[in-house]
Structures are given as structure tokens and as C-alpha cells.
Amino acid sequence: MKLKQLSPTDLRERLCDAGIWLRTGPFSLRICSSIPSVAEGLTDLYGQFEVRDQRDSFADFHVSVNSPSLLRRWIRPQVDFVFDGQLPFKPLPLDQAYPMLEWGLNWCVSMHAHQYLIIHAAVVEKNGRAAILPAPPGSGKSTLTAALILSGWRLLSDELTLIDRKTGLIHPLPRPVSLKNQSIPVIRAFSGDKAFINRPSHDTAKGTVAHMRPPKESVRRQHEPAQPAWVIFPEWVAGAATELAPRSAAQTFMFLAQNAFNYSHLGADGFRVGTQLIGQVDCYDFAYSQLDEAVRAFDQLADTPPQLRAV
């Protein structure tokens, strides 16, 4: 059953009671929350995802977003993210309940799923080949990701690139795309009415934050891994011409290692998986100012047949 087949009342009741069981990529989640905006966010953004009755199944992560106390329901209302009894974060204002769930889920994956090398990067796929987009915050990574997936690329993840340590393939985790500040109107304008972006939360640690619903096709194919083909560092520069410039593989490796959540946890195997990845991809710096031109450049890359690599 898909989440959108649940009536809003049914969803709210389940969230308040035993929780809903949801499958996102390789992970099963059990989510509990009595906060209306969390139910609303899930309805808006997770409609295409598979749900189950949690009573008879295993869940990787048992999470909840709720008020810390009765008092905090009414006076300066706050919410806590709870991972099976643990509180990894300080409470946030009620208005940020939905983004807190998304951040909390990112934390769950990045702190535990060491069967993957987990790189802090967006990742999209076309024609069977995946482009990893690592970049510091503010470089326009999420905006570009959103534009690409609105233009026929498949969303694998906007935040966590999961590289299978056994196969070297990238496993999709196509959860909603987080958009910040100026990105929100930019993507609304770019998409016409194709994109659904939920109600923004204001004054978070990252400014104004909203989430874009992942494309239906990306969710349908969420169990289909992809071959890494490119590592591309996007940078939005006002007025810049679109330019794709080759980049040193060694420097790229160092950047990925530093921006992986669990590179050091994996020890020697982290190095092996990282070098294997770098051996399979072309590395680029990518400057752009116009989203449609950027998408065209990416499409061109995807349409160029892969060259045989000298080993």
C-alpha cells in the first residue's frame, strides 16, 4: 500500500498510535508523531512511498517527533527528535517539526549505515550513469539537483550518497529534496507548476527551509542501484558562463574522504572503496548561473557515450 492511499485521519491516527512503517531506499522506518505538521509533511511529500502495518515487521530506525513535555505544547512550543529513546539533538521550535524529522533521518542513516561509504553529496542518474554532486553548503547543490530531477534525471539522493562497499554501486535514497532560502522561489519559477514544494519553515539554523516532493519515477525505482560515472562540483556564480572543467582525481578523492560521514570508521576499506570509486568516474568543476543552461550541459554529458578507460 502507498502512503497516499491512507486517509489523512487514518494517517494521523496511526502516527499518534503505533506509528507508520515506511520504506525509503534500503531503509525501513517507523515514524511516530502527534504533531499535525509532520502528518501534513508526510502526506505532501511521501505519498508515493510504500507503507505497512508496523506491528508485524522489522524497522531499521524507530523515530518520533513530539513535544518534550506538556508545558512545551503550549508555552513557546518545541519538538524533540527521538531515535528509539535517544535524543541526538536539542529541541527545536514547533514550526521546524517537519524539517527536524528529515534532519533526524539523515542523522540516523549517516551514524549507522556503515555497510555503505556515505558521502555528503547529492546524486542523480541518467542513462544508467550517476553524477555525484559534493559541494559545500551555499554552492547551489540542492538547487541544481532539484532542477535536474525536474528535467528527467532520476533522484538518488539530495544529501547522502550511499556507496555499497561490496559492489561499488550507488544505492538510491530518494527522500524529499531540501531547498533553502532563495532556492525556493528559484525552483518554483524554474518548474512552472511541475514541482510540489511544501510549506516553508522559517528561521531555522539554515534559514528558511522547504522540501520538494521526489519525482514519482525516482520513488518507483528506489531499489535500483546505479553505476557512478561523474563527480561534479557545482558552483553557482552570478553572471558566470556555464563551464565544465576537468579536475584532479587525487584532490577529488581527498575532498570526498573529508566529506564522507564514515570514511574513517571504515578504516582501510574506506580507502579501497574511495579509490575504486575515483577510478570509475570523471571529475569536473562546474560553474553556472542559468539553471536551464546547466541542465543542458548535464544532458550533453549523459548523452556522450562513456569512453573506454585505460586501466
Partner: protein, 367 residues
């Protein structure tokens, strides 16, 4: 006292029951083991019994991931011990490692699946300042404690405030004794240092406490440190140490004599009692007889059982009952009660309850 009945304890006692587990039971087992910090150790246990194949495919990665982390930490601990040894090279004393890091250094079964928050070392008190200075020169610095905590450590504790490395963020606890000076019982650190043994050929210059002293330290730690989130993990340490050492000739008489000498008989009694309660640790009948002089009366015993059967269980909702929060509070207070006299304890607990929470700034905001 009936043996502990929650799923993790039952599984640790009889691992082959996993062959009959439903997915719902696996769900609960993983959650309890994660909360107790025992996922990797449980994986090791299942692996030794050739039971890894009983873990259903969707559950398996949780164990493998925990084992990956534990493996990495053991390598890191060994490497870090080399760095600490080099930093303390000029000091006129051997490097003595305690607890988890000692089990790793000495290649003991108790190292299995062990996760680490810090490395504990023991330094003679007269060399404490020199040791601290040497570690600072090598990059370990005082962590950001509140002035109250800093003062508390320096004045009353058996260790100085934890030191954290600037680049690697590893934490060292430098001890000058295993219990505070103010504790009811104060095992003389000189006695412990007089019996240290080399950790092993692959760890030159690194020493650990003697087998009996390691066990007594582990037992004492359970009740004096109030570090209850790790209660069950620490009990499994003790269980593994005992099962390993008790094969040696005359082990139990030596242990009892040493407990007596160090005034730790009562702690040993409780530790054995709860190891048996949770983990079915084998203890000969003769030992219980010999411990009679330190066995408390019936009423005290029942009170202690009701406290520790709850507070040493994992802090997971499924292992709690109505009295668990109270029991944890009681165990915390008792740990402090054993560590200092009332005139110090009462102001300290007052500060911890009503003043520290408002100064706490350590929990991160999500990013």
C-alpha cells in the same frame, strides 16, 4: 532472584534461541542491543556459535555495521596507545592502561566487540602533573568543563578532567587511583601498581593490571561510577573476564584474597550476583560461601536487587518498568554515596540537579 527476563539478556545467555526468532523479536533485540552498546559484542557471540546465518537478511547490516565500527576502534585504540606511550616516554613510570583499552592491549576476550568513548590510564599521583603536561605537549587538552566540574575533578576525584586530542578528538582519562580518596573503601593505588603485567609482545612498554585486579576494578566500577547507560555492557566485560581467567589454577582463592586485601569484597559480591542474574556467569558454590562475611542482610539484599536488576538493564523502554526511573536514580545516588561522605555529597547532588542543567550547552543542534 529470578534471572533477567528481557530479550537481550536471554539471548546473551542462550544465543541459540535466535534460530526461532520472528522478525518482531529481531527488531526488539537490535533495539535493546543498540541501546546497551552491545550490537558488536552480540555479533561476535553469534559468530562464535556459528549462528550468524540465523540473522534475517534485513537485520544483518545492523550487526555488520556495529562490528565494522568496533573493529576500527580496536585498531585506533592500539595506535593511540602507541601515541600515549610516546608522549609519556620521559616519565619515570610504566604506562598502565585500564578497562576497555587494557582488554584490547592484552588481547583478552573481553575486547570482543567493545566500543570506546575514551582510553583510561593510571599514573602514580606524584607524577600526575608531569603526565598532564606531557600529554598537553603531545596535543591533548582539557575538555570544556564548567568551572564547577573542573574544581570537582581536581579536588575530589581519582582522575583529572578528561583530555581530548586537538586533531583526532580522542579522549584520555588520566587516573591516579581507581576510586576517589573520599570513597568508603580506598584500594591503595600502590598495591595495584606493584602487580602490573606487560600487555603483550605486540604492545611493548604498555602494562595492564593483574588478572585479579582487572576483575576487581571492573566490579568496583559498576557500582561506583554511576555510568549506568553502560551497565549491562560493563557486566558483559566482567562476565568475559571471569570466564577467561577462571580456567587458571587457584583463580578463585586468589581473587578472594585480593578482594579482601583491597577492601573490595562487597563490590565483588554484588558484581558476581548481578553477572549471574543477567548473564548466567558461572560462580562456584564455594565462592558464595567464602563471600558470606560480606553478604548483606535479607532486607538490604532485596532492596539492592530491586535497584540493580533494573538499573543495570539497558535504558530501553522495553526493559523498563514503573520503578526503573526510581531505581536508576537510586543507583546513581548510591554510586555517589560510596564515593564521598554526606557533607560533600549533598551539595554536589544539589548542584547537579538544580544548577548544572542550566549551564549545559553540550548537546548539539541538528544540522
Amino acid at each position: 532472584m529470578r534471572q533477567a527476563n528481557f530479550l537481550l539478556a536471554r539471548t546473551l545467555r542462550t544465543p541459540d534461541m535466535t534460530t526461532r526468532f520472528s522478525l518482531t523479536q529481531w527488531d526488539l533485540l537490535v533495539r535493546q542491543a543498540r541501546q546497551a552498546g552491545l550490537l558488536a559484542r552480540l555479533q561476535d557471540r553469534l559468530s562464535q556459535q556459528a549462528l550468524l546465518e540465523t540473522i534475517p537478511q534485513p537485520v544483518r547490516w545492523h550487526f555488520d555495521a556495529a562490528a565494522t565500527l568496533a573493529h576500527k576502534q580496536q585498531i585506533a585504540v592500539r595506535w593511540e596507545l602507541g601515541q600515549i606511550r610516546a608522549a609519556l616516554d620521559g616519565l619515570d613510570c610504566p604506562l598502565v592502561v585500564l578497562k576497555g583499552a587494557a582488554y584490547v592491549a592484552a588481547n583478552l576476550p573481553a575486547a570482543s566487540g567493545r566500543l570506546f568513548n575514551d582510553i583510561d590510564i593510571l599514573v602514580p599521583r606524584r607524577l600526575l602533573n608531569q603526565a598532564e603536561a606531557a600529554l598537553m605537549l603531545a596535543g591533548w587538552n582539557a575538555t570544556g568543563l564548567s568551572p564547577y566540574d573542573e574544581r570537582y575533578y581536581r579536588r575530589w576525584m581519582h582522575e583529572i578532567p578528561p583530555m581530548q586530542h586537538l586533531h583526532r578528538a580522542t579522549v584520555i582519562d588520566v587516573h591516579h587511583a581507581i576510586l576517589p580518596d573520599t570513597a568508603r573503601y580506598f584500594p591503595d593505588p600502590q598495591k595495584l601498581l606493584s602487580r602490573i603485567v606487560p600487555a603483550g609482545d605486540d604492545m611493548p612498554g604498555v602494562y595492564v593490571l593483574s588478572a585479579e585486579d582487572r576483575i576487581l576494578h571492573s566490579a568496583t566500577h559498576l557500582f561506583h561510577d554511576g555510568e549506568l547507560p553502560h551497565g549491562l555492557r560493563d557486566l558483559t566485560d566482567l562476565d568475559l573476564l571471569l570466564r577467561h581467567e577462571s580456567a587458571a589454577p587457584h583463580f578463585w582463592p586468589r581473587l578472594m584474597a585480593r578482594a579482601d586485601e583491597l577492601q573490595l569484597g562487597r563490590s565483588l559480591f554484588y558484581a558476581l550476583r548481578y553477572a549471574q542474574h543477567f548473564l548466567d556467569t558461572p560462580v562456584p558454590a564455594k565462592v558464595w560461601e567464602d563471600l558470606r562475611s560480606v553478604t548483606p542482610g535479607r532486607i538490604v539484599m532485596r532492596l539492592m536487587d530491586s535497584i540493580y536488576s533494573r538499573s543495570l538493564a539497558p535504558a530501553h523502554a522495553s526493559c523498563n518498568d514503573t520503578f526503573s526511573p526510581l531505581a536508576r536514580q537510586a543507583a546513581y545516588i548510591r554510586a555517589h554515596w560510596l564515593r564521598m561522605p554526606a557533607y560533600l555529597l549533598i551539595p554536589h547532588l544539589f548542584h547537579k540537579a538544580f544548577i548544572s542543567p542550566y549551564l549545559d550547552n553540550n548537546t548539539p543542534k541538528p544540522a
